[in-house]
Structure formats: C-alpha cells, structure tokens
C-alpha cells in the first residue's frame, strides 16, 4: 500500500509546572488510516492531542503536516492545517440547531445562508452514513447525535486529520459500532484519524495501528493485526497485571437497605428516577450499571438525603437495634443523628467529596468536625487519621498540610475513600470510584471495597466498566432513563446482556415514535 504521511510529531514535550505531561513523543499518522492512541488515564493522551489541535503549545519538539513544519498556536491554526478535534466534552450551543452549530465561526467569505449549510451537511451525511436532522436543536438531541454534530462540524471545515478523544465513553455498544462504521468510511475516503481510548477491544476492532503512551512517553507503535490485548496491556502498564478481581461469597446477608417505588422529578418535569425498587444486604456489593446520566447520581443522592424525593420510601435497617428507619425527606445531618452509618463517595471528588483548596487534615474533618461541644476545632484526631490513611493506603503526598488539589487523581480518591471508610459505615455508596485512576490504584480501591464487604458492610457500587462490574459485584442492577431494567447475578451476567438492558428503555420509545 502506498502510504503518505499526514501528520508527524517529533520529540514533542509538554510540562505543567514540574510535571511532564508528555516527554519526547514521536508519532506518525498516515493518510487513510485509523491510529489508536492507547494509555491509562493521566498518561498524557489528551495533552498530546490538545497540542495538535492548538489548545496547548508544546514546550519543545516539532509538528509536521504533509511534510512541512507547522506552528499551531490556536485551534484556528489547527483548522488551517486541516486538523479537527472532537473533544470528550462537547462544545455546542444548546439552543442552536445542528446546522447553526456546524457553521458557527466559519469564515469562508460566502454570504451566510442556512439552506446551503443544510445542503452541505446533508451531502456529508450521505457520504459517510450519518443520520441527523440539520434543523434539530442540540438540547433535543441524544448524546450520540451531539457527537455526530461535533464530527460534522469538523468535516464541514474541511478537516483531513480527525482526532476523537474517547468518543465511545458516552455511547452504548450499538451506537459505538455505528460510529465505527462511519470512521471506516472516512478512512476509505482518505482521512487520517486518531482515536483516543483505553478500551482494548475497541482498539482491536477499529484501528490499523496502535500508539501506546505510558507516563507521558511514547512506548511503541504497533500494527493492530500483529498484536493482542495482553501484549497491549503489558505495554500500557509496564508489567503484567492479572485482571482477576477476588470475589468472595457474601456471609450471613441481612437486609440493610430497601428502596421502594422511588421517584424524583427534576425542574424540567422529567422523571430522573421512575419507580425504582431494590434492596441491598450486608456483606454484598450491589453494582449499578447504566449509561452516564441515567439517574445513578440522583439515586445515590436521594439515599444520602441530598435529593428531593417525589414518591417512594428508603428504609434503612439498623444492624444494631434491628429497627427500620425511613430516610426519605431527611437532611444528611438528620440521617447522621438517627445513627445511620452511611458513607458516600460521590462522583465529583474535588467538587463535592472534598474541598480542593483545603489540606488533607482539614478534609478529614469534614465528616467529624462537629463532634464535641467545644466551639473550637480539634485538629489532632483528623491529623492522626490523615497520617494513618497516607500510610495505610500509600497516598503520595508531601505531607498532611498539602492541599488535596495538588494530589494526583488516584491519591485524591484514596484520601476520600479512606475518610469515608474510617467512620466504620454499615452502608457504603461509591460512584465511579476508579474513574481516572491507573490500574494499580484501581485495584487498591477494589480491595478496599472487598474488605468492607467481608466485614459485613452493604456496598453500592456505581460503575461504568462492565468488565469490572461483572467481576466485582455480587448482583448488578441495570438502570436506563431512571428505570430499573433488570437485576442480574454478578457471577452469571454477561456484558452483552447488560449492554442491552442499558438501552432497553430507549429502544422502546424509539419504536413507539416510529
């Protein structure tokens, strides 16, 4: 095959303060190929791509497009060189239509006529197989439709090099395979495509070559056909990691929490939780699977007393007294005063679980500072707890007085989970506890959760990685658009089944509409 180089990076580095996000990275991208950039979270994939797309400026190194050295100082420069990036977080105007978003900021010197834009968009759709109504407004769109608009936006500007940052993170398996079909068609058209991901099976399915990054450095680029998942994992993490998570049988399960008919309606009148019923027992991990935004956050916050509830009940069975307590319409403080030992690791670690600008000791106090009648704070015990957690969970930090925002993602999570576990909960809820963590930190967290389970804690685990859910959880509850679409046994559940349940509701409504 005759290969021409579309994009080449030579010795590119980027530093943030003393941290090297990328160091001496070389990368080559050919026309008409899909290159997967693979690496753990925090290995510098996105930083590298942002330098190509003009968001960051490299501290050293050179970038070549079509064999010529270029300097990319802004996204506008990137577009001039035919480079377009589809970011993980969409950058669209909600109240504008697809076409309006696509044409926004384009300066082609032609008189603006939406009809022409619609025509071009339709042509692009026909060419690559997108399905979208150019007149539909963004806020009426599903996540996958929004992504389509982002891709069209880039194509409309004539990009020949496309960068997709974790495009499948928000998609269902079905939507993912549709996206992959489109990418293949673009490849046949001669476009050069970079796709960032950390899902190995997708790398195998879509890419021609794989570039592996580790800790900001380029480890190797290999042909996809000549490698396999195990080899890629080894390159990614540097040493062989067993993917087995230990799972013990629940011992003496007793009902700890019973949720019945839970319904909450948000400000837009949408039922974010619709008649949700389930129970959790001591000594088990209940997994909750679903596409992002299906009501997971609202469910946990409702139990924690942070969410308005419109119907239903949340009964907590106190293991000490044996009495049942209804947690509905209670504030977090009232829940604590009732003697409910509830711990909650929220999804938003630095925005909710911790105070980013406070040091580790002061963050330890968040849960316990009220203790005692004194009007003054006791910093001695929190300090001891902080030191204990740093030691037992191997938190990498200069000391207890370091603001938590300076810690890396994994260490932040260890501080948060450590604090929540330290209060000896009987019910522990965790939301996406390993998001953004490297494999070793993830396993630290899995082990902590398993230890809690073995000591008789009822654990609720909201996760996104189906492999982890099926390996870690005793039971898996699947929710879709606020409804429970199934509760499966974690030992027998298969990913495809969960994937189908995750989209069950969507499929139902689509049929009705059609």
């Amino acid at each position: 095959m005759n290969k021409t180089i579309a994009l080449e990076l030579k010795n590119v580095s980027k530093y943030f303060g003393s941290v090297a996000a990328n160091q001496h990275v070389d990368l080559t991208l050919y026309k008409g190929e899909i290159l997967a950039v693979l690496g753990e979270n925090g290995c510098g994939k996105t930083t590298l791509m942002n330098m190509i797309a003009g968001i960051y400026f490299p501290d050293e190194g050179k970038i070549y497009v079509d064999g010529e050295e270029v300097v990319i100082r802004s996204p506008k420069d990137a577009f001039r060189h035919g480079i377009g990036m589809i970011h993980q977080h969409f950058k669209l105007v909600d109240v504008f239509s697809a076409s309006e978003n696509i044409v926004l900021g384009v300066k082609d010197g032609k008189r603006f006529a939406l009809r022409n834009v619609n025509k071009t968009v339709k042509e692009l759709c026909g060419k690559y197989g997108f399905e979208i109504d150019p007149a539909k407004r963004i806020h009426e769109m599903s996540v996958s439709e929004k992504q389509t608009v982002e891709i069209l936006k880039v194509l409309y500007r004539g990009a020949d090099i496309l960068i997709l940052d974790e495009p499948t993170a928000v998609l269902t398996p079905q939507e993912t395979s549709r996206l992959f079909d489109i990418l293949r068609r673009m490849k046949e058209d001669g476009k050069a495509i970079i796709i960032i991901t950390h899902k190995l099976h997708e790398v195998m399915a879509i890419s021609d070559r794989v570039a592996v990054l580790r800790k900001g450095e380029h480890i190797a680029t290999v042909n996809t056909q000549e490698t396999n998942e195990t080899a890629l994992t080894e390159m990614m993490v540097g040493k062989k990691v067993s993917l087995n998570i230990a799972r013990s049988e629940p011992v003496n399960p007793e009902k700890r929490l019973e949720v019945t008919g839970l319904t909450t309606v948000n400000a837009d009148g949408i039922r974010v939780l619709d008649n949700v019923s389930f129970s959790v027992s001591s000594g088990e991990i209940l997994g909750i699977a679903g596409i992002a935004g299906s009501g997971q956050r609202e469910l946990l916050e409702a139990i924690a007393g942070l969410q308005h509830i419109d119907a239903g009940s949340i009964i907590y069975c106190d293991p000490k007294t044996g009495h049942d307590v209804n947690l509905r319409d209670k504030t977090p403080l009232q829940i604590r005063d009732l003697g409910v030992r509830l711990s909650f690791v929220p999804e938003d670690r630095l925005g909710m679980g911790l105070v980013a600008n406070m040091n580790i000791t002061d963050n330890m106090m968040l849960r316990s500072y009220r203790r005692g009648k004194s009007v003054f704070l006791d910093r001695e015990k929190p300090k001891a707890l902080a030191e204990n957690i740093i030691k037992s969970l191997d938190v990498v930090t200069p000391g207890v007085t370091t603001p938590v925002r300076r810690l890396s993602g994994g260490n932040v999570q260890k501080v948060l989970v450590g604090r929540e576990i330290s209060s000896a909960p009987s019910l522990l809820m965790v939301a996406y506890p390993v998001r953004g963590l490297d494999i070793n930190s993830s396993y630290t967290i899995y082990n902590l959760l398993n230890k809690q389970k073995e000591s008789g804690v009822a654990v609720v685990y909201v996760g996104e990685d189906l492999d982890v859910l099926t390996e870690l959880c005793d039971r898996i509850m699947v929710i879709c658009s606020g409804r429970v679409t199934g509760i499966l046994d974690g030992r027998t559940a298969v990913k495809e089944e969960i994937g189908l349940l995750m989209t069950k509701h969507d499929a139902g409504t689509r049929e009705q509409e059609g």
Binding site: F16, E68, V70, R73, M352, D362, R367, V375, L377
Partner: protein
C-alpha cells in the same frame, strides 16, 4: 492542505506558563521588588511632571506618616478604622459572599449611634448612653447586613447588587435625619455634646486597642472555630457543604450577621470616639477601600494589618506630597494608583511565569 512559507507562523514571542507554587521566600522577594519598583517609578513620574527632586519626593511621602508624633498617631488611627471595616467584611468574603455594602452598614450604624447621642444626651448618664450607642450600632449594622443575607439564602438574590442598593438607602436615611435634627435646616449637625467615648492617653489609643483585639479574635474565629471552618467550606464549595450536612442558608445568614455586627462596631468607634457627629460622608469610601485591604491580604486578618498600613501610608504620603509641592490634589491619587498597580500586578508573577521564544528553545529541560 499545504501552507506557503509566507504564512508560516512562528512560535509566539512569549507565553504565560503556570508556576508550580513558589517558596515563601521568593514570593516575599517578588512583592518587595514590586513595591521598590513602584516607588522608583513614582519618583520618575514626579520628576517629569512636577520637577520634584526624587529625594525630597520620597522624604515627603515618608513624612506624611512619620513626620511628627501627631502624624504617627493619625496613621495608627486611620489604620485602625480601615482595618476594623476590612475585618468586618472578611468573614463574608471568605464565604464568597460579595458584600460591597460595608459603606452602608457602617454608615447606618453611625447614624444609630448618633441617634442615641442626640436623643439621650443630657437625660441619662454618659455610661448608659455609650452602652445604648454600642447596642444600637451593632443592631443597625446587623440589620443592614442581614437583609441581603436572608434574601440570598431564601431566594438566591444577587448579594452584590442588594448590598450596593442598601448603601444608597443608608445615605438617604442619614440625609433625612440630618434635616430632622437641625432646626434651621442647615443639615449640619455639629458636634454632639454627650456620649463621647473615654479618652485613653489621647482620643486614638482606645480605638487602636479595640481594633487590635478584634483582629486577634477574628483570626481565631476564622481559623480555629467550627463556625470559621463552616465558612471556609461553604466558600470553597457549596456542594461539599450540603454533602456533609452543613445548613448553608444558616451559615450565610449567621456570617453576614457577624459581618454586620463588626461594621456596627466600626460605626460606633467612628462616631463615639472620633467624629461625635454624623454626615453622609462619615465613612468616606472606607467601605470600598476595605474590600481592597481584605482582598490584597487574601482574607487573612494578620496580613490585613500590613495591607491597611500600606494603603493609609500611601494616602497620607501622597497628601503630604501635594502639600509640599503645591500641586493638584489629583496627583496623590495618581501615586496611589501606580503603586497599587505594581503590587496587584506582582501577584500575577507569583502564579505565572513568562517564557520567551529564545528561552523556550534552550531551557525546557530545566
């Protein structure tokens, strides 16, 4: 897509790069250098504009505050008053409640204080009047600060606009009572005879001591009490506060009441200890200067002693300059403006550094 060489872009001439956190020594060095540069620059401006000999120019600035014993006392008194108002707004600012209504809160407290002096003077012993003055001032300050807080907590109104509007109400209230209290309608109240605060050595020392005590107490309140901790949590992240069960509305209202009470004390000290009267201009913009004092000190009471000293020192020095060199009173404002520009500008270099094109090429590995 090829780009011809004509359009070939160069690396930007310089870029701004975030620093990784400087050691304390270096940050002090940067700030000191900024102040030094500012004074040098001011000297230059003075040389060009008013043909002042730089030495006598700096001498005038210094003498403005330290020239005579009386000037030193005035310096300390002015610092105390400004610091008191700055301390008052700080708890709310730590909570990211942007109260720009200290001006009105102090003024309305001053009015309440003068009201006590006006109505009770001559009828009851001075000690009783002073007690009433203190209570009335504190209550007035708390009402003026509490109203916006309640509206913010209940209906999420914008506290900046609300407190700003309350300033105007306070001004016009004072105007109303001045007309009422002056039979001739001259609106000039003159010195009220009763309810003066006791003199300790001179009229300034008591105020200075009171403010010193408040500074220490507020430092303890903000850093070592449970209330202070709650204020910090609410200020940093309301979501976290709710998550750990802090009643955010309660904290907002309670903190603003503390702020208002301190503003009340400031009004009490100004009227009872210094002015013995009230006008629309009693606070004279100190409520706004206080925002700068608090902010420059990063809301830390200890540093606020330094920042309020700096602002008062500059103000008095500049006034001295305009007197010595017989120039427009606008010139001092130019001096203060230049120096503040340098100081605030230096904060940028503490958080960021500039990397030039040439430097970027050689020194990235460092």
């Amino acid at each position: 897509m090829t780009v011809d060489n004509k359009h070939m872009q160069h690396e930007p001439l310089f870029r701004v790069v975030k620093r990784d956190g400087l050691p304390l020594k270096k940050t002090i060095l940067i700030r000191a250098a900024a102040i030094l540069l500012a004074f040098l620059f001011c000297g230059l401006i003075a040389l060009i504009l008013i043909k002042a000999n730089p030495i006598s120019f700096y001498e005038a600035i210094f003498n403005g505050s330290f020239g005579t014993q009386r000037k030193v006392w005035k310096l300390l008194k002015d610092i105390a008053v400004l610091l008191c108002i700055s301390l008052a707004i700080t708890p709310a600012f730590r909570m990211k409640f942007w109260n720009i209504g200290a001006e009105g809160q102090v003024l309305v407290a001053a009015l309440a204080c003068a009201g006590c002096m006006y109505y009770m003077g001559g009828h009851v012993p001075d000690a009783l009047i002073i007690a009433a003055m203190l209570i009335a001032s504190i209550l007035a300050g708390m009402i003026w600060a509490g109203l916006p807080a309640i509206f913010k907590a209940r209906w999420n109104t914008n506290e900046t606009l609300f407190t700003l509007m309350m300033n105007y109400i306070a001004t016009f209230l004072v105007a109303y009572f001045l007309i009422k209290w002056t039979p001739s309608g001259s609106s000039s109240l003159g010195e009220l005879k009763f309810g003066h605060l006791p003199r300790l050595y001179n009229e300034y020392l008591l105020i200075i001591l009171v403010v010193a005590v408040i500074t220490v107490l507020l430092h303890i309140y903000l850093n070592y009490s449970k209330h202070g901790y709650e204020i910090s949590v609410v200020g940093e992240s309301e979501k976290t506060a709710k998550y750990i069960g802090i009643n955010v509305k309660k904290v907002i209202i309670r903190t603003m009441l503390v702020s208002g009470a301190l503003c009340g004390i400031a009004g009490f000290l100004i009227v009872g200890g210094l002015d013995h009267s009230v006008t629309e201009n009693t606070v004279g913009g100190l409520g706004f200067t206080a925002i700068m004092v608090s902010w420059l000190a990063k809301f830390k009471p200890g540093y606020m002693v330094l920042t309020s000293f700096l602002l008062v020192f500059l103000d008095q020095g500049a006034a001295q300059v305009s007197q010595n060199f017989d120039i427009s009173s606008a010139f001092p404002n130019v001096i203060v403006g230049i120096i503040l520009f340098f100081i605030i500008g230096s904060e940028f270099f503490i958080d960021y550094k500039i990397v030039t094109r040439a430097k970027a090429k050689e020194g990235t590995k460092a």
